[in-house]
Each structure stands twice: as C-alpha cells, then as structure tokens.
C-alpha cells in the first residue's frame, strides 16, 4: 500500500553542505514563484499610504501660502488658474526579520499536498523578502544576516541561505529590538510551552511577530487507517498503531487544541497567527500576513 506522506528530500542534519546546495538550487525557482505571487499583492502594499518624503507621486494639492515656491509643480499649475503642489508618498525604511523553520520535519509532504512544508515556507519567506525589499524595507534573517536594504533583497537572502552551512534550528531572538517586525514560518509542532518560551523574548522586547504555521493536510486530517508504523523525521522515534483510524479523533482534538492555544496567545500579544496548508495557495498566507503587517494602528514603530 502506498504511503500517505513522505519526506520530500533525503534529510541529514549533519550534511549541511548537501542541504545548502539543495536550498541553493531551490532558491531561483522560489524566487520566480515569489515574484509571481508578489505581483498579485503589490498594488495594495506599496508605500505608506500617506504623503511624506519619498520618490513616488502621491497627490496634487493647492498651494498654500508660506510653502516653498520650489515645491510648486509648474507643469500642473499651468493648466488652470490655481497653483498646485506635488505631494510625494511618504516612504520609510523598517526592519522586518524573516525566519523559516528548516528542520527535517518541514520536509514532510503528503500525497494530497502540492509541495513540502519546507518548500512552502521558503516560498513564503522569499515572497515576503521580495515584497519588503521592493518597498524599501530592511530585512534580516536572525543569526544569519544583519538587517540590510536592497532592491534584490530576496536574492541576497537566498545567497546567504545557500552559503549558510547549518543554520541553528532555533535562532537567538534576543537581538531583535522594539519596533521591529518578525515573520516566523514553521510548523510549530513542538510542544506549545517550548514554542511560547522561545518566543517570549520577542514579547518582552516589544517586537511584533507574525507566525505562519505551514501545515500539511495529512497532519491535520489524519487519514491513516489500519496497522501503521509512524516515524518521527527529527528524532527517529517509531510508534506502531494497530488500528490507526481509532486514534484519529483524539489526535485531531489535540492538534487543533495546540493551534488554538498558540493562536489565542498571539492574539493576546497583538501578534498575527496565520495557518497555511500546503494544498492551498501560498498567496492566501501572503495576503493575510501582508494585511497583518500593514494593519491600521500598527505602523512603523510597532504596536502602541
């Protein structure tokens, strides 16, 4: 009988080079895909939606006495009897930390999913990197790079990832300061207490986190039945169930309870929590996170 889920690539935590190469080979594809996804979002993302110092046109408004004459837009003013000033859209750089869980458990991909969780996580990260870079934000990968601002931020992030030998599984988050945003993509399958203890640093520093849980549909619906031996891809532990379908109900309860707890914790802290299934489109999560990043009252400077 064919298996339901599989690891999408051979995983050896010690073999960092292989992982790096694999990731490097994956990056260009992901970038392309990320660009494609970004194009669907960019209209609503670009700029700060208010006038200020920037490069792009925002609006024409009538000239008010006392303003610098140099700001008058003569070309527009010549068209009628009034005098107009060209306002530009305010653009401000902002640091957004990006991090994806690249542990072996993320390599899981079931038959009903279109991609593995790791692939989806990287796609999301690169898509966000692309988005943020285009709007001039500073992006960084904790433990890998310092914040930088570049038009080709996604490529640079990709090259950093490809060159990294073996990123620490849980980076130190203490360097992240107030008024920063951090986007964490992972499966959050560790016990909730551990995850909370790890993320508590962020809460204490006043950073705003956006958690994206990449979930495989098989993990959520538990479609297994009959005699089945389950293997943990990270620890190698094995469990053999005689009638797997009998476990489904309880498992589903526990699984959704974990997600619910994390989500409510995030909500309490003012963070966003997004679930993205690998059988759905990455754009769903991207739009959701984008909304959360630009949410009203959560402008630069973090939450108030």
């Amino acid at each position: 009988m064919a298996r339901i889920g599989e690891a999408s690539a051979p995983v050896a935590t010690s073999d960092a080079l292989a992982r790096g190469r694999l990731r490097a080979s994956l990056v260009p594809d992901l970038l392309v895909e990320a660009r494609r996804i970004v194009n669907t979002v960019i209209a609503g993302w670009h700029g700060r939606k208010k006038r200020g110092i920037g490069e792009n046109f925002w609006q024409f408004r009538p000239y008010v006495q006392g303003e610098a004459m140099a700001r008058i837009d003569w070309r527009r003013s010549a068209r009628d009897d009034h005098t107009y000033v060209r306002d530009r859209e305010w653009e401000a750089a902002h640091t957004v930390w990006l991090w994806a869980d690249l542990s072996p458990s993320m390599l899981y991909k079931s038959k009903s999913a279109t991609v593995s969780k790791e692939s989806r996580a990287l796609v999301l990260i690169f898509a966000l990197a692309e988005l943020l870079s285009r709007s001039g934000e500073r992006i960084a990968w904790p433990g890998l790079t310092d914040p930088f601002s570049a038009r080709n931020g996604a490529e640079r992030l990709g090259s950093h990832l490809a060159q990294a030998m073996s990123p620490p599984p849980k980076p130190d988050l203490s360097g992240i300061r107030r008024f920063s945003d951090i986007v964490i993509v992972g499966d959050f399958l560790d016990p909730v207490e551990e995850t909370m203890a790890w993320l508590d640093t962020l809460a204490r520093h006043g950073a705003r986190a956006h958690l994206i849980e990449v979930a495989d549909p098989a993990e959520e619906s538990f479609p297994y039945a009959g005699r089945t031996e389950f293997t943990d891809p990270e620890t190698g532990d094995k469990l053999t169930a005689g009638r797997a379908e009998q476990l489904a109900e309880d498992y589903r309860n526990l699984y959704s309870a974990r997600r619910h707890e994390l989500a409510s914790w995030c909500k309490r802290l003012g963070w966003s929590y997004t679930v993205n299934h690998t059988d759905r489109l990455a754009s769903d999560a991207l739009v959701h996170v984008h909304l959360a990043l630009t949410a009203e009252g959560h402008g630069p400077g973090g939450r108030r």
Binding site: M1, Y108, A225, G226, R227, T228, E229, T231, A241, G242
Partner: protein, 941 residues
C-alpha cells in the same frame, strides 16, 4: 469412525493434523506487517497513543480461521468419503444375479438396478463372471455368464415389463448355467410378489447349494392393483387389491381417463384395516362413462394399477324381435317401427333373418348384442328360451313391450320383471269412466330419474302389474294413478325391462314422443355388449392385433415390437410378453386385455428354507459421497474470508475514498473490455452483405428506366440518350423523377428492379441466349413490361408479309416468349389517357401502331372515354424508334431528326413516353377514374 459414516481414502494424511499446533504457534508470532509512515507531529500522536494497547499478534479469530483452513486442507487430502458403501459379501467364484422385472418392480426399478449395479461392480472388482437373468423376460434370453462390463450393459438395457414374473423357466436356465460354475454365489433380487410355481423354481435354483446367497426384497409391498372396473347402473364399480399384512387402513384414488389421456372422473377406494380388497363406485353420468378409455390408480406407476376398457361401454348392438312381420304395407303400425327409429342414431340394430322365434332368438344371441328388444312377443319357444335366459343372466338387457300377445301369454317369472295381471287395462274408452292417464314424474330411484317427465304423454291402454310390496322398487316409470308404465328388474348380471304399453302409438302416444327416445337411449347405455363383434358368428377365435398397450409404468403407449396378436375367444388368455396388457383390435372394436383378473390377489413371496447362509441386502441407491470437493471448496472460501479480513485490518476499506479514482479507472477498464467482448458479435452480425447488394440498393432506391444493352455501341448510346431525354421530360412535366437510365444485360443483371425495359431490336446484335429469354419471360410474368422497338417503320419492304431484319429478329425472340394476344392500342385504351390524351404514339417515325396485350375481357359498354380492365400489358411493340425521338445530347438538344421533321412529332413522342411510364407505374388507375362520379355519389356529395 463407527459413530460417523465416514471413511478416508488416505488415512495417513490425517497425521498432518499434528501440524496444526505448529501453525498456530507460527501464526501467533507473526503479526501482519504494518504500513510505514513518516509523521512529523508524532509528539502529538504519542500523547494519544498511550491509551491504546498495541496488538502484537494477529487476533484470535484470524488464527482460528487459518487453523480451520489448514485442517480442511489436510482433511480434504485424506480423501474422505461420507456414507461409504459396504462391500457386499459375494464371496463365491461367480455371481448369479436373478432379477425380477415384472410389473411390480416398475416403481422402484432404478433402485433395483442401482443395487444390481453395486453387486456387479463388486463381482467385477473380484474378477468374477456374472450370470444375469430377468424373470419377466423370455426364458431363452441370453443370461451369460458375462464379464462385469457386459453384465452392466445388459442391466442398463433391461427394463421392467408390464407382465407377471415367470420364475420357473428362468430359474431353471440359471440353474443349468450354475451347474457349470461350481461355487457361484446367487443373488436374488425379487419384487416381493409370489407367483405360481415359486417353490419348484426355488428348489431348482438352489439345487446346486451355492456357498452363499444374497437376497434383496422390497421392504414392504405397497403395490396396489385394480382388478375390476364394471359399468354398473349407477356408475363404474371398481375393485382394488393390496398385499396382505397391512393392518392400517388405506385409500387409493382411481382416475378415469378418456382416449386422449384427459382425466374426466375419479373415485376413492378405501381399504378397511387388515383388508386386502377395496371397492368403490365412480359415479358419473352415462354420457361420460362412454368416454372412459382407461382407469388408473393414482400414485401407482405400474401396469397392475391400470385397466383399459374395451367396447363394453361403447356403441351397443341391439337386437330387435317381433312376431308380426306382415305389416309392411302399413309401416306406421309395425310394432318395431318407432323402436327402430328411436334406436338407430345410437345403436347398431340387427334383426333376425328368420321370423320363427325358435331360430330368430339364437341368431340374435349369436351376434352377442348388448340388448334385445322384444315388441309384443308372447310365448317364447323352449329351446330358444334357454339361450335367451343364459344370455340375460350373463349380462344381457332384455326390453319387452306389452301388447295383445304378451297380455295373452300369461305370466313368466323369468322373462318378466313383475307379475302381471292377465288382460289389459283400457282407460278413457267408450265404456270407461276414466280418462287417459298422463305419465307422472319418473321415480328418482330408477334409471330415468333425471329425465324430464313426458307431461304431454297419455296412456289409454296398458297391462297392469300385480300390486306387490316390492313393485315400487322395480318401477322405473309411473302413470299418474300410480300404476307402473315401465318396470325393470335384475336377472343375474343382466337387466329385464318391460314397457307396459305396446310399441306402436295405439295404446299410448309415448312411442311418438321424444321421451321414448330418451328412455330407450338410457336403457341402451345401461346395457353392455356381450363380447366383441369379431368374435363373431363363426366361433373361430379371431386374431386381434395389438392396438394400445399398457407400459410397465402404467401409461398407455403404442404397442411394443414384440407384442403379438391376441387370439380372442380362446378362453382366458394369460398376460405374457407376447400379449402384454392393453387393448387389442383396431379403431372399430377393441378387446381389453388386463393384467389382473378379477380374482387376482397380491400375495407376498415365500422364501424357501436354505442351507446356505443368506445375506439380506436392501434395495438402495449408492449414497456414498466424496467429501474432498466440498472440503476444498470450504478451504477456498475460508481463504477468501482470510484475505478479506487481512485487507480489512490493513484498512483497505476505510481508505476506499482515497482510492475511488483508481477504482473508477479499473471499473472503466473492465467495462471497456466487456464492451469490446460484447461488441465483437455485433460486428459479425452486421457483416451479412452479399456481393451485388450495393448495386441492388442503388437500383431500387430510385425509379429507373432500363434499356437492354444490345452490344452495338451506337444503338446503346442512342438508347441511353433516349431514356435520358425521356427522364428529363418526365422530371419537367410530371411528379416522377426517375434516376439515371440503367443499361442492363438481360443475361446477367437482375431485371425485377425496373418497371419498364426498353429493348431496341438490332439485327446486327447477337441473338440473346435461351436462358436470357427465359429470364425476360419470367420478368414479364412477374409484372414487368418490355417495350420492343424494331425502329424500322420505313424499312419494311413492300407487301403484307415482308419483314425487315429487325422484325425477323423480333419474331425469333418472341418465338421463345409466352406472348399474349396482341392488338394495336385501341382508342379507348388507358394508354391514351394515362397522362396526356394521345391518339397515336409516334417516335422518330410515325405510323407504326403500338402493340399491346389484347384486353379481351375489358368492356366499355357505356361508351366511356376509357375502357375498364385489369392488369398492365407485359409487352409493347412498336417500330417508331422511340429512343431516337427522345434522345438528347448533353446540352439537351435533340440528337436525331424526326421523320418527317416535325417538332410537334418529337413532343408527341415524348408524351407517348410519359404515358407509357405513367401506365407502367399507375396501371389502370386512370380507367378507374370513370368510377369517380359514382364514388362521389356514394359519398353523398
């Protein structure tokens, strides 16, 4: 295994059952292989997992299932046999098998043969020769010794016979054979019925003192026999017998069947407890009784339970006797006149040649009549009287009429049913106070009970019976004052009837009433013929051919080949193979030859005391069953169950949803294969085309005008162009749109597709063969028309009998055809009115008449425009060269000039063609138009 009727062909294999514990141990140790799955949220699952007890082994019921499967396989391999057949202890050097195949063995013959087959098979296994004898066969039949195979073949060929067994001669023959086979064991398969000479037969058979004897008898004698079926006054009296020794009461149902085997009546016969004889009456109307052909006991498939009935219930012979024979001049006053008229329709009448009673009565009785009617016969001569009495007591019916002679003759106890008062009584005469007496209702006890009373009948004179206490019982009909009109009495087996009136209409008007006929008819039905007609006057025993036989199974069948004619009249004949029971004679008259006589009994066979050991065996079918097949089937079923269980435990069925797509694909593939298989015969069926079908379909899909290919290119081209021109003209002018002209070869092509064949006669062309002309002849007979065109109107020579070569050729052709009488088209012929009104039929030439079949019977008496008449002429002859006038080139221009060159002549030629085609297709429709006024008038307009 005495407690189970089970034995094993290979018991050693049963040791294999010892392997079962090992299998159990193995099965307990190896659980089914789990499905390996990678599962990242294992930590979450592990929390749930603590609750479940993981089965390390397969469930107990699966283990049990597999153990059972293994046990079944082991048992099947041991070749078990249920109900094993015990080997019969024949023992001797040979086997002599004596089988009764008389009538009593028919119902369970198959069981007997099965028993005999077992015995023969056992003897054959030991290599013993087998002597096989059947006691109802001819004693000179071949009895062996045979080898086992030949004996089996003979056994299968043997069948029960509808005759009693004849053990004596057969046993004697077996004994002589046994004398050459010392030490042979004897097996007797009897039918349980004793027969004459049994003791003698058994002593002969066992005279050699065989080493052992096998004896099979039926467990009980449940044969029932029908020993008599007599046609009594109130119904058929039936007698059935059974074997003694049955203390329980019993009942059998007898059914009466007509000559087509339809059941028309039945009756129940009851055996009292311990009794062996049961009687019963089948109460049915007289009319039905005459239809009885056989009577059979239900549920008894043997010949003894069937009786066939002969002529004794059929058309009767009636003798008429009268003393006054001088009244030929006054036939209405002759005493027998009304009797004869009344009896003729339903009885064979015979009258003696002599008028002397002393000779006339023996003459009548020699013909064995069922009934003798004596019209006013007084004293009967003593020598004749003896024979008459004997005939009467043997079952004859004597009907006497009163009259002056009878009244004068005085009483006769034996030949009169009641005592009479001497003299006659006159009612309503001139000197009497009384009026003529009407007839009252018939007494219900008499045979006339259900007849309608003759209310219009009055009696003015009668002879009176002495009033005795039993007079009412013997009275069959009364007058209104209670005096008897008809009396009857039994005399032995016979019946004596007296009409107290004269047979003429002088004493009463009864003889000229319908009731008289009914009464006589009823009496005739009561009577019975005394012997067969063919047993006749010579006294020589007649030879009666077998007509319908009773088979051993009790059915009425055609006679078998070995049935011989029955010598009737030679006393009681035994039922033998040459004379099996049944009907002998022919359609005119048959004699019943039944298996059981009226005094027959069914007595059980008495076994002799034998010195040799006697082994009792039972008649039984071979009931051993090989259990190997069922056991293997059971093991296979368990294997299927096991597979299902394993699949279920592996979660196959709960994952079915995920596999639906694949299942659908498989189903689609299977359906496709099935469809392909089913579609195969369709292709085969569809491919029934024959060569020429395409041409035929093309020829008949449109109306086409045909022309004969003469082989001369110019003539054929002209014909084709001509028909094309006519076709164009038809399309232009009429609703008919013919197809392309069809050039046909009359020797090969099918002609029946074309309504008209244009045949230009060309002397240069080859003369058609006789076969081709025969085809044309057939075409004309089937309704086609040939238009011959000699195209030589102006080529004929001068002179009445001069003929052009084309005409000569036409004459040659027509010489071989059945040409009807011809005439030029008359002025009122339908051809002149079929579409255009045409006085003549020109072509390129003008002047030649168009010859058609002479309508000889056609009439036109009232001067109508068109003569009436049926049919279409099969032949038309012209010399005007129609095709030449019709011919057009591809531009539609005429090809040939008309002679003389008159454009209207071409138009007329084309119109002639239109008329001819319309005439071909519509027949005499136009001439029927003359009836239109009449039809309209009938329609009320």
């Amino acid at each position: 295994m005495s407690w189970l009727p089970l034995s094993f062909g290979a018991p050693a294999v049963l040791w294999g059952l010892l392997a079962l514990p090992v299998i159990w141990w193995l099965l307990r140790l190896t659980p089914p292989k789990p499905q390996a799955e990678i599962f990242p949220p294992l930590k979450i699952l592990a929390k749930v997992f603590k609750k479940e007890e993981t089965p390390h082994q397969s469930p107990w019921w699966l283990t049990l299932l597999r153990l059972l499967m293994a046990a079944l396989v082991v048992l099947a391999l041991a070749e078990p046999i249920f109900n094993p057949r015990e080997k019969l202890p024949t023992g001797g050097t040979a086997l002599a098998l004596v089988v009764d195949n008389g009538w009593a063995s028919a119902p369970d013959w198959k069981r007997r043969t099965a028993t005999a087959e077992r015995l023969i098979a056992d003897a054959g296994a030991d290599g013993q020769p087998v002597v096989l004898a059947f006691t109802a066969e001819k004693p000179n039949a071949e009895i062996g010794p045979f080898d086992a195979q030949a004996a089996l073949d003979r056994l299968r060929a043997a069948e029960p016979r509808p005759v009693p067994t004849d053990r004596g001669p057969v046993y004697a023959r077996v004994a002589t054979v046994l004398a050459t086979l010392p030490g042979a064991s004897v097996a007797v398969l009897d039918d349980g019925l004793a027969s004459a000479g049994d003791e003698q037969a058994f002593s002969t058979l066992f005279g050699q003192s065989p080493p052992n004897v096998l004896w099979a008898s039926p467990e009980r004698l449940d044969a029932r026999g029908l020993t008599s079926a007599e046609n009594e006054m109130e119904g058929f009296a039936l007698t059935a017998i059974r074997a003694p020794g049955d203390p329980a009461p019993g009942a059998v149902t007898a059914g009466a069947f007509d000559d087509k085997g339809r059941r028309i009546a039945d009756a129940t016969l009851t055996f009292a407890p311990g009794e062996t004889v049961a009687t019963g009456t089948m109460t049915v109307p007289f009319e039905l009784r005459n239809d009885f052909a056989s009577i059979a006991l239900d549920g008894q498939a043997q010949a003894g339970a069937v009786r066939v009935l002969d002529d004794s219930s059929k058309r009767r012979r009636v003798g008429l006797l009268s003393q006054s024979d001088a009244d030929d001049s006054q036939p209405l006053l002759a005493p027998l006149y009304y009797i004869r008229r009344a009896l003729e329709p339903f009885a064979d009448l015979s009258e003696p040649a002599s008028s002397d009673l002393a000779e006339a009565i023996p003459q009548l009785i020699d013909q064995k009549p069922a009934m003798i009617v004596m019209a006013d016969v007084g004293t009967i001569p003593p020598q004749a009287r003896e024979r008459l009495l004997k005939w009467l007591n043997d079952g004859g019916t004597l009907v006497r009429f009163a009259g002056s002679r009878l009244a004068a003759a005085g009483n006769d106890e034996e030949l009169l049913p009641v005592r009479l008062r001497l003299g006659e009584r006159s009612l309503g005469g001139a000197l009497s106070w009384t009026a003529p007496q009407p007839v009252s209702d018939f007494p219900a006890s008499g045979p006339f009970g259900d007849l309608a009373p003759p209310n219009e009948v009055t009696v003015s004179r009668q002879v009176l019976a002495e009033p005795t206490p039993d007079l009412a019982q013997s009275t069959w009909a009364n007058l209104a004052d209670g005096t008897p009109l008809v009396t009857g009495a039994r005399r032995g087996k016979g019946t004596l009837v007296l009409f107290h009136i004269a047979p003429q209409a002088t004493w009463s008007n009864l003889p000229i009433s319908g009731s008289f006929v009914e009464m006589l008819r009823r009496i005739v039905q009561l009577s019975r013929n005394q012997g067969t007609a063919t047993a006749g006057t010579e006294g020589k025993p007649a030879s009666l051919a077998p007509f319908r036989m009773i088979s051993a199974e009790g059915r009425i069948v055609p006679p078998p080949p070995d049935a011989r004619p029955l010598l009737a009249g030679a006393g009681t004949l035994p039922v033998t193979l040459e004379n099996p029971p049944g009907l002998y004679g022919s359609e005119e008259g048959v004699l019943a030859h039944n298996l059981l006589k009226s005094d027959s009994t069914l007595s059980p066979l008495v076994r002799p005391q034998l010195s040799a050991p006697v082994t009792e065996i039972r008649y039984a079918f071979d009931e051993s069953r090989d259990l190997k097949g069922p056991l293997v089937a059971g093991a296979l079923a368990l294997m299927a169950l096991d597979t299902l269980a394993v699949l279920w435990m592996g979660g196959m069925f709960s994952r079915r949803g995920a596999r639906r797509a694949r299942t659908a694909g498989t189903a689609a593939a299977v359906l496709l294969c099935l469809g392909a298989l089913l579609a195969q015969p369709d292709h085969a069926r569809a491919d029934d085309t024959k060569p020429g079908d395409l041409e035929a379909v093309e020829a008949i899909s449109r109306t086409r005008i045909a022309y004969v290919l003469t082989g001369q290119a110019s003539v054929d081209a002209t014909s084709r162009a001509g028909i094309t021109g006519l076709t164009k003209f038809l399309v232009e002018k009429t609703a008919l749109e013919p197809g392309e002209p069809a050039g046909i070869d009359i020797a090969k092509d099918e002609l029946a597709f074309y309504p008209l064949i244009y045949w230009p006669i060309d002397p240069a062309a080859a003369m058609p063969s006789e076969a081709a002309i025969a085809r044309v002849d057939a075409y004309m007979k089937q309704g086609g028309t040939v238009l011959f065109d000699t195209r030589d109107q102006f080529a004929n020579g001068i002179g009445a009998d001069s003929a052009s070569p084309a005409t000569e050729r036409l004459r040659d052709i027509l010489a071989n055809l059945n040409v009807p009488p011809l005439e030029p088209v008359p002025a009122d012929h339908v051809l002149t009115k079929a579409f255009f009104i045409l006085p003549e039929f020109p072509g390129r030439f003008n002047g030649s008449p168009l010859w058609v079949e002479a309508s000889l019977e056609a009439s036109n008496a009232e001067g109508r425009p068109v003569r009436t008449g049926d049919g279409v002429t099969p032949i038309m002859i012209t010399a005007n060269d129609f095709a030449g006038a019709w011919a057009v080139d591809e531009n539609g221009e005429p090809m040939l000039p008309t002679v003389p060159s008159d454009p209207m002549q071409r138009v007329y030629a084309l119109r002639a063609g239109v008329n001819i085609m319309m005439y071909m297709l519509t027949g005499n429709y136009k001439s029927d138009q003359v009836h239109v006024p009449v039809l309209l008038e009938r329609l009320g307009q």
